[in-house]
């Protein structure tokens, strides 16, 4: 186990130390390979270019644009985020990780890293949508609130899904099949708040949906780490 240490005169809790150690490990692994970030960046650019080309220069309706944005975000997430667990199993480092930190800390560390990654992807996607498809954001604060909540929910769900799929065969194919259905409520509420942020529909409906996104993310993070701990502790390869 990673021990707690004195940091600037304050005793850092063991949990915070373990979570930050897993988070830092993910950042360093990403700095070395850049595989996750490049995958999500390239898939985002490719999706937006394909959509912009397919739209033949016409400006999209807010509802359609919100749907397309979330589809692009989900595919970028499913392409890049599961790597955090799949790479551990492929490299054979999962057992070492089991010895290094408690399951809850592993889940939180990886989920926070995934959240950061999906937030960066979301910002890039918003910029690309604005520049290439001429979208104007009418309610930027609502957009930020719903995107941060959505990123948290997506990161939690994909981290959990990837941890389950990592135990089986045919992982890369299976990860999308397992994660996508679990994200459907998040996608529905995300689209609903995003379209209001783009100026379609009533503000109250948009804020209610954004609240729903945050509530779903809260439920995901209440349930997923506990279920993950039971699966992760049971595995002996």
């Amino acid at each position: 186990m990673i021990r707690s240490k004195k940091d600037g005169g304050h005793m850092k809790s063991a949990w915070a130390t373990e979570i930050s150690a897993v988070f830092e490990k993910e950042i360093k692994t990403e700095q070395r390979s850049r595989a996750g970030f490049l995958t999500s960046l390239l898939s985002s650019v490719l999706i937006v270019i394909s959509l912009a080309y397919g739209a033949f220069g016409s400006t999209l309706d807010g509802t359609l644009a919100a749907g397309l944005f979330w589809v692009a975000l989900i595919f970028a997430a499913v392409a890049a985020l599961p790597r955090t667990f799949l790479a551990e199993e492929e490299a054979g480092t999962a057992d070492l990780l089991r010895l290094a930190a408690r399951p809850h800390a592993i889940f939180w560390g990886k989920a926070l890293f995934n959240c950061l990654q999906i937030l960066i992807t979301a910002v890039i996607l918003v910029l690309l949508f604005s520049v290439m498809m001429g979208l104007t954001i009418k309610m930027p604060f609502l957009l930020i609130v719903s995107l941060v909540g959505g990123a948290l929910g997506l990161a939690g769900t994909v981290t959990f899904g990837a941890a389950l799929v990592a135990q089986g065969s045919n992982r890369t194919m299976l990860v999308g099949v397992v994660c996508l259905p679990l994200m459907i409520p998040l996608i529905m509420m995300g689209i609903s708040s995003f379209r209001v942020a783009l100026g379609v529909g009533e503000a109250l409906g948009g804020w209610t949906s954004a609240l729903g996104v945050w509530f779903y993310a809260f439920l995901v993070f209440s349930l997923a780490p506990n279920l993950f701990a039971m699966v992760w502790q049971g595995k002996r390869s």
């Binding site: 389950l164 799929v165 397992v178 259905p181 994200m183 349930l223 279920l227 049971g234």
Partner: protein
């Protein structure tokens, strides 16, 4: 017991044809399919919740609980497919299209996809204990989107405005007393039949599990046949001296 169940089911079926036609539908006579559509949806939800509860039990290391969870989820899938089939027939007759992208219709399709992924995930894991844990965790987690899609999403005001589904007919008390009594009778009969089928599936699953355990014990926990290893000495150059 079986005779009583058969008689009760027959009585409920006859009652569904004798009930007065629901005047609020465009084809009132053909709207009777809801006597079978609604109970299938209710029973599917019961089995989905049962599958999640048994999945949580399987997480604590129980292959028996996993066998029960699989049987419950299989039963739920069959009932959900029946709900979809009867719903599509209703849609064709009342809304003139097999599939209308109605929010409630689509949300139930998503529920089917969630549980389809459960079986895909199970198929990808070969180790029995690990499969039980992973499937149990997935089943327990999937209760979140399932509850949202079945109970929350269809009741959102914006969704209800756009939906073709006769939700207000049912929740607004527009159903007459005889309709509710037939729906509940069919639901009770269907639930008993499904529980009987579920028990059969569990017994078959537990037998298979016991057979597998006995086979492994007979082979001392080793399912692969023992192999003979012959010593081979090598010279300094690495060539075989005694082949």
């Amino acid at each position: 017991m079986r005779w009583i169940l058969a008689l009760a089911m027959a009585a409920a079926t006859v009652g569904s044809f004798l009930a007065p036609p629901a005047a609020q539908f465009s084809e009132p006579e053909l709207a009777r399919i809801i006597f079978f559509h609604l109970p299938c949806a209710f029973a599917a939800t019961v089995f989905f919740i049962m599958g999640a509860v048994l999945g949580i039990k399987a997480l604590n290391g129980g292959l028996d609980a996993d066998t029960r969870a699989v049987a419950a989820n299989e039963m739920a899938m069959v009932l959900a497919l029946l709900t979809m089939a009867t719903g599509m027939l209703f849609s064709r007759v009342q809304w003139l299209a097999w599939w209308s992208w109605d929010p409630r219709q689509t949300s139930f399709l998503f529920v089917l996809l969630i549980y389809g992924a459960y079986f895909a995930l199970r198929a990808a894991i070969s180790d029995d204990d690990q499969r039980a844990k992973v499937a149990g965790a997935y089943s327990a987690f999937s209760i979140l989107p399932m509850l949202f899609l079945v109970f929350v999403f269809p009741r959102l005001p914006a969704v209800m405005q756009k939906s073709l589904h006769p939700s207000t007919t049912i929740s607004g008390g527009e159903f007459s007393g005889i309709y509710w009594s037939i729906v509940l009778s069919v639901f009770a009969c269907l639930l008993i039949i499904c529980l009987w089928l579920y028990r059969l599936a569990v017994r078959a699953g537990l037998l298979e599990l016991r057979y597998k355990n006995e086979y492994n014990q007979r082979n001392h926990g080793n399912t692969t046949p023992p192999r003979v290893v012959r010593p081979v000495s090598l010279s300094e150059e690495g060539r075989e001296e005694n082949p």
